[in-house]
């Protein structure tokens, strides 16, 4: 029994445990926060929300971008994706009469991570349009 306790206190047990516990905790955290929700807002350069903007989500691979979904922003400019399965996505907002927004790269810490964008997608009205 004493030998067992000595072994349990040795670095051969403590170090693997010290690695396994955070890894286990991280995996539990992932399972709780991986619904694939991407929440954000589309604003004009003046800070006004824009409704009816099409937001395209693209999944980035090492070499390619492939389209994964489209949603339309609500009246307050908010949009939500619920089907993100990647950890590296790009978002782009477009609407007729507005110039397309910059392609926003969103890096996540794990696949399908729920995320609320800190910065909005910005689109500007075209000057030549009435």
């Amino acid at each position: 029994m004493k030998k067992l306790f000595t072994f349990l206190r040795s670095r051969f047990v403590i170090i693997p445990l010290a690695i396994a516990i955070p890894v286990g905790a991280w995996n539990i955290y992932i399972t709780q926060h991986a619904d694939g929700v991407v929440y954000g807002q589309v604003l004009t350069a003046d800070g006004l929300p824009v409704a009816g903007v099409t937001i395209t989500m693209m999944e980035k691979n090492f070499t390619t971008n492939s389209e994964r979904g489209k949603v339309v922003s609500a009246t307050d400019g908010h949009f939500i994706f619920t089907n993100n399965r990647s950890h590296n996505i790009q978002l782009r907002a477009s609407k007729q009469g507005y110039s397309e927004s910059e392609q926003k790269v969103v890096r996540l810490y794990f696949k399908s991570q729920n995320v609320t964008l800190k910065e909005p997608l910005v689109i500007t009205p075209n000057q030549d349009k009435p």
């Binding site: 670095r11 691979n61 090492f62 070499t63 590296n88 890096r107 996540l108 794990f110």
Partner: protein, 293 residues
């Protein structure tokens, strides 16, 4: 007068000798520490560079190079984890390494125990084993492949681990440790009714923890870093081990410095952790036979 003089004690003689040696030959401690720090810096710098680049992804040819990482982030590690089946490669490497470790600890102990006995042709066996050390593995690959194919172990974990099941260096590490165990202990165990196998398992191995640790570390490192044999034996991409995965990664993707260095770090870390964990036993195991007369 001579009767009044006390002969100097052995202890005082030893301590005087030690003092003289210290004062006349040894380097000052501060100089020693500075030298060690410089050497450590030179040795650790490449590891630091790999680690730094894995967090920044900066061009390694940039001039002037900067020691301090700028805008570090963990996303290269995340990319590596998800873009290639890293977890699968890791699992494959772990399975192969565990097989190699268990086999090395058991088979090498058996072989070393046999070499501690006296039998006809023992010196010839030892000579043969030592001369086999001089044969590079590359020359035995074709027969090893044919044998592995004949027994149907191609593209399997067992097939990858098989050539590393017993290594001559590890046998001699065990032998050095077993030689230090008194014969009377083995005889006493035999009188108590233990078989040869029980003597190995219950007497020799528990008394040779350093040799066991050395076997574990060496077999782990060799099987973990093994590249050529898995490259030949494995056909299924999902059966590949980490070194093969690294090679595949390099051939698939270009301009991915950060991800590549992250991959390298992820491959290196398990080996480093195991070595640091067991380094005391490892060094003791390697030197246990060194002072034996």
């Amino acid at each position: 007068m001579s009767q009044n003089m006390q002969p100097p004690s052995v202890k005082s003689l030893l301590s005087n000798g030690a003092k003289k040696r210290t004062s006349s030959h040894a380097l000052p401690t501060w100089l020693l520490h500075i030298s060690l720090l410089l050497i450590s810096f030179c040795l650790l710098l490449p590891f630091y560079w790999v680690l730094k680049t894995s967090f920044t992804g900066e061009n390694i040819f940039i001039y002037p190079p900067s020691l301090i990482p700028q805008d570090p982030h963990p996303f290269f590690y995340i990319d590596t984890w998800y873009y290639i089946p890293f977890a699968r490669y890791l699992f494959n490497s772990v399975v192969v390494s565990v097989l190699a470790i268990v086999a090395n600890v058991v088979f090498n102990a058996m072989a070393a125990y046999a070499l501690t006995k006296h039998f006809k042709g023992k010196s010839l066996v030892i000579t043969l084993l030592l001369s086999c050390l001089m044969i590079p593995f590359q020359t035995t690959i074709v027969p090893a492949y044919l044998i592995t194919g004949k027994i149907g172990l191609l593209n399997s974990y067992l097939g990858v681990a098989l050539p590393t099941f017993s290594t001559i260096v590890c046998i001699f590490i065990y032998k050095a440790s077993f030689d230090a165990i008194p014969t009377s202990l083995i005889e006493a165990a035999r009188i108590d009714g233990l078989s040869e196998l029980q003597v190995i398992l219950k007497i020799m191995i528990p008394l040779s923890s350093s040799a066991v640790a050395s076997n574990v570390i060496l077999s782990f490192i060799w099987s973990w870093n093994n590249f050529l044999w898995p490259l030949i034996v494995i056909r299924d991409p999902l059966m590949q081990t980490l070194p093969l995965g690294l090679s595949r990664f390099l051939s698939y993707h270009e301009n991915t410095t950060g991800a590549l260095y992250a991959f390298c770090t992820m491959v290196l870390v398990p080996g480093i952790i195991i070595f640091l964990m067991a380094q005391k036993e490892f060094i003791r195991g390697l030197t246990s036979g060194a002072t034996k007369g």
